[in-house]
């Protein structure tokens, strides 16, 4: 059996099968269940790796490769696309790589971290369900299927946020999360229904080919972007994010980072692929000013404004926090702002001259590459910081920064990992955050210098915040109550070590990542004509 051909289906189906089997195996033995879950996610990572290898090697030699998989029929595209299709291009598999790294690390870390909790059968089931939901969102090429996976992701993560049910705040954060994501998902469904009613299609490629940018399409676009940006934690709709990030167990938080990025992927897919054909159409949007304007520019500046707000709000709120995990959560909001800044700059960089021919500015593609590169960097950096926060909670049973101090004495490795995480998240040179942030600054500076200056300043403030945390938690005299704390168990150190190694690797050789993975992903996003040609054969 040729594995890569079946890979798109297997990537989602294997964790699902694992999730359905976990309660059965959990009744036999706890250890067996843990090994089983790690095994399932390990197999899944291998399949993702295989598919990624196939896609990336093909795409550097010739035209970009898009892997399609039709569920339940012959593997060819019929004229009306009736069946559900998975459409895996470089961007999707790039996100899938991030998700599988995070999830694999999470299950390893959970072994020791969650040991003392009850209900672990359900915990692992939900983690696997979250995995298949996230991966499904990233690989699917069908709008309604996307909605279904969005719901799987949000239900399982809401239940996981409320995992520590004996704490009222956890349950409350879980409720907030499920409320927000349900409303978001319902608006996504509403938008899908609007599109379906007009074009009688659900496949992304078919819809993208058919879309005409009528008023109803605009409403659908606004609904989709608003709902998914809300789930990605962009600023005016970010209220749920710090609550659920900070009140969930640390493992769940890291998985949630992945879920958030899956929503961000949804935004990218919708803007660049679903509306890709109408993106570069000049419309008389502002009739009373009698000015022509590009659709792309409009969306771009809208996204840029929200992104800058996210960065500023995230950093300012992070400065004020005394709760360790809440502080990281607000820093995560700021990081999401950086990604959206890159994406928005790409959209805003498209212009047109007096003869109405469209010009693509050079820096636009750099911005998009920076934004996409920052997705993986953010996932790793913020993930590592949350894992360190979990380690600290594991030893001290406390989240408050005011009551910590001198932890470096007894927790050497954790301290090192935290130092790596904080330097990476602030974008310091030897680590991975530097490369992507530099690309974003550089391109944004050419669009508008003020944006770049704000972004750089906020990045420095993030560094200041984390240095403060570093000082108050790890440095200083050892508090008497923490005299006997020990280093965390090996499985947790191993999990943090995996992420730290990847961070250092990307930091030292950013070009390898950029050339082989990020650039094909950005190209797959922007080259919409190629996408349509490969999927449904329209030129």
């Amino acid at each position: 059996m040729n594995i890569p051909n079946y890979a798109p289906a297997l990537i989602v189906a294997v964790p699902l099968l694992g999730a359905f089997l976990t309660p059965l195996i959990g009744r036999i033995n706890d250890k067996l269940r843990n090994i089983f879950v790690i095994l399932i996610l390990g197999i899944n990572s291998i399949i993702v790796g295989l598919l990624a290898y196939n896609i990336f090697t093909k795409s550097t030699t010739g035209s970009p490769k898009i892997w399609t998989y039709v569920f339940g029929g012959k593997q060819e595209v019929t004229s009306p696309v009736v069946r559900i299709m998975f459409e895996v291009d470089a961007m999707s598999i790039f996100m899938a790589i991030i998700a599988s790294i995070l999830l694999f690390v999470v299950v390893i870390y959970s072994w020791a971290f969650m040991k003392e909790n009850t209900g672990l059968d359900k915990y692992y089931t939900l983690i696997l369900l979250l995995a298949s939901g996230m991966l499904g969102m990233m690989l699917t090429g069908d709008m309604f299927n996307f909605f279904v996976f969005l719901e799987i992701t949000s239900i399982s993560s809401a239940a996981l946020v409320a995992f520590w049910t004996h704490k009222g705040e956890s349950v409350e954060a879980g409720f907030k999360y499920i409320l927000v994501s349900t409303i978001g998902a319902l608006f996504v469904l509403f938008a899908i229904a609007i599109l379906y009613g007009q074009y009688d299609a659900l496949n992304i490629a078919v819809l993208s080919n058919a879309i005409q940018y009528t008023f109803l399409d605009k409403v659908a676009l606004i609904l989709l972007i608003a709902a998914l940006a809300m789930k990605a934690g962009l600023v005016p709709l970010h209220m749920w994010l710090p609550d659920s990030y900070s009140r969930a167990p640390a493992t769940v938080t890291v998985a949630l980072v992945g879920a958030t990025l899956a929503s961000l992927y949804g935004v990218l897919r919708i803007v660049f692929t679903l509306y890709g054909n109408t993106l570069e159409v000049i419309t008389k949007q502002i009739e009373f000013l009698n000015a022509d304007i590009l659709v792309s520019n409009m969306i771009g500046w809208f996204v840029i404004v929200l992104a800058i707000c996210s960065i500023i709000v995230g950093v300012m709120m992070a400065l004020r926090q005394t709760d360790f995990k809440r502080l990281i959560a607000f820093a995560a909001v700021a990081e999401i702002g950086y990604m959206f800044l890159g994406i928005g700059t790409k959209l805003a960089s498209v212009g047109f001259d007096t003869t109405n021919s469209i010009i693509h500015a050079e820096y636009g593609i750099t911005a998009l590459e920076g934004g996409i590169f920052h997705i993986i960097n953010d996932a790793l950096d913020v993930g590592l910081l949350f894992l360190v926060a979990g380690a600290i909670y594991y030893t001290t049973k406390n989240w408050s920064l005011n009551e910590m101090g001198g932890l470096a004495r007894n927790m050497k490795y954790t301290t090192i990992f935290f130092a790596i995480g904080l330097l990476a998240v602030a974008g310091m040179p030897p680590f991975n955050g530097f490369a992507s942030k530099l690309m974003i600054y550089e391109s944004t500076f050419q669009l508008n210098p003020i944006l770049a200056i704000v972004a750089i300043l906020c990045s420095i403030l993030i560094l200041a915040t984390f240095v403060k945390v570093f000082h108050s938690a790890f440095m200083g005299p050892a508090l008497p109550k923490f005299k006997d704390v020990k280093e965390v168990p090996k499985s947790m150190l191993f999990a943090m070590g995996i992420i730290a190694c990847i961070i250092i690797f990307i930091g030292l050789f950013p070009n390898i990542m950029l050339e082989n993975i990020v650039r094909p992903a950005a190209e797959a996003l922007t080259n919409n004509a190629q996408y349509l040609k490969m999927v449904i054969g329209v030129i």
Partner: protein, 90 residues
């Protein structure tokens, strides 16, 4: 509190105007613009899936993967509810 109510009212009225306008722009009820995909299904459901019920053939065959997702959603909810009401070690 007052300001929140006001903002909510403004938000709601903007949405109301946009949605009502879109409702007027939809194709008239019962007269479809496009139905290529569904016509294909209606025509081929008996020969391709062997089911007489078109809806079931869509649910379990053409869009069977959605149904797997749907079953998974239910499974997730059951797992979540049982997890939430589990007995805590005190």
């Amino acid at each position: 509190m007052e300001r929140r109510n006001l903002a909510g009212a403004v938000f709601l009225s903007i949405i109301a105007v946009i949605f009502l306008f879109s409702a007027l722009l939809m194709h008239p009820f019962g007269i479809l613009d496009e139905s290529e995909m569904d016509d294909y299904i209606i025509k081929n459901t008996q020969s391709e899936t062997g089911a007489d019920n078109g809806v079931t053939s869509v649910v379990f065959d053409y869009r069977g993967f959605d149904t797997l997702g749907e079953a998974t959603v239910l499974f997730t909810a059951v797992a979540g509810v049982i997890m939430i009401f589990r007995r805590q070690k005190k």
